[in-house]
Subunit: 172 residues, 2 copies
């Protein structure tokens, strides 16, 4: 419950689970949150990417692409992000801002850019304007299949924030 | 090297370590990046907080306070963030946006809000407008001492991005 996150915005003590004071934004249903999330997946320039090794978290912003089923990222092969994701297969992404966010928990497959299938590489290059296969420093793609998604833009939206579970969009 | 992060902004393939094309922003020295970072620590409403358990990363936005030496966060005691930070003692924070960021690696001490020293509690309540000691659900403070900071707002600022090392600000 990210009540600590919203307290400053609300200027009142948050009441977890209680009615919201002073907020006038409409609470979105799951269908709208899914629509808004896909719009960000299709259009945002970058995403926050968290990985981990033995209790040690790593966090960087990366450009992203979306092929309709996978978030595609690229980073140097020797980066902590690449190494962590390759070892654990798990990444967590934050799309949007702290005030309008979708948190995505995803299973990540890490592959050398030089060995990736063309559709992955083309999707990434088309979206970002950059082809990491052309870099001298070896890069990898992280191809991330979302498993869970939580989307919220206010305390009122904490309930109903799960819009994907086990890789399936939740019904509206 | 977050070259993948910047490629879309630049609209040209990034050249890690090479001169920047088309950017007109001045490259800040360490002193300016420190000043800008402290301004964010003093004024921003929230921060991205990454923690981990084994190889599983967790990522949430939280409100923050800054007492001049520690970032102070608050979250329910049973949250993944609280449990991860208590177990590993390590957190990573992203302050700002993906285009103007300070990444902070910090040692975190986790304490029940009810047991925290008054200066900690007062600092947090004054900054955020919320006192978690008044919540029915038990909360904890995460009191985070920065160890390493990296600040950059462009590819040109990748060099010189370390502005704190081993808890000490780097010289300008």
């Amino acid at each position: 419950m990210p009540s600590g996150w919203l307290c400053r915005r609300l200027r009142v003590p948050p009441r977890p689970g209680h009615s919201l004071h002073g907020m006038t934004d409409a609470v979105r249903d799951a269908s709208q949150r899914k629509t808004d999330t896909i719009a960000r997946l299709d259009g945002d320039a970058d995403v926050w990417v968290a990985t981990a090794s033995a209790g040690r978290p790593h966090l960087v912003p990366l450009s992203l692409a979306w092929d309709g089923a996978h978030v595609i990222l690229a980073t140097p092969a020797n980066s902590p992000t690449a190494r962590n994701a390759a070892a654990s297969g798990q990444i967590r992404l934050a799309l949007g801002t702290s005030r309008d966010v979708t948190i995505i928990e995803a299973a990540a497959e890490v592959m050398p850019c030089a060995e990736a299938a063309d559709p992955i590489a083309r999707c990434y290059a088309a979206r970002t304007g950059w082809d990491p296969r052309h870099e001298d420093m070896p890069h990898v793609y992280l191809v991330a299949a979302p498993r869970t998604m939580h989307a919220w833009n206010s305390l009122a939206e904490i309930n109903g924030r799960t819009i994907m579970r086990d890789g399936q969009w939740t019904p509206a």
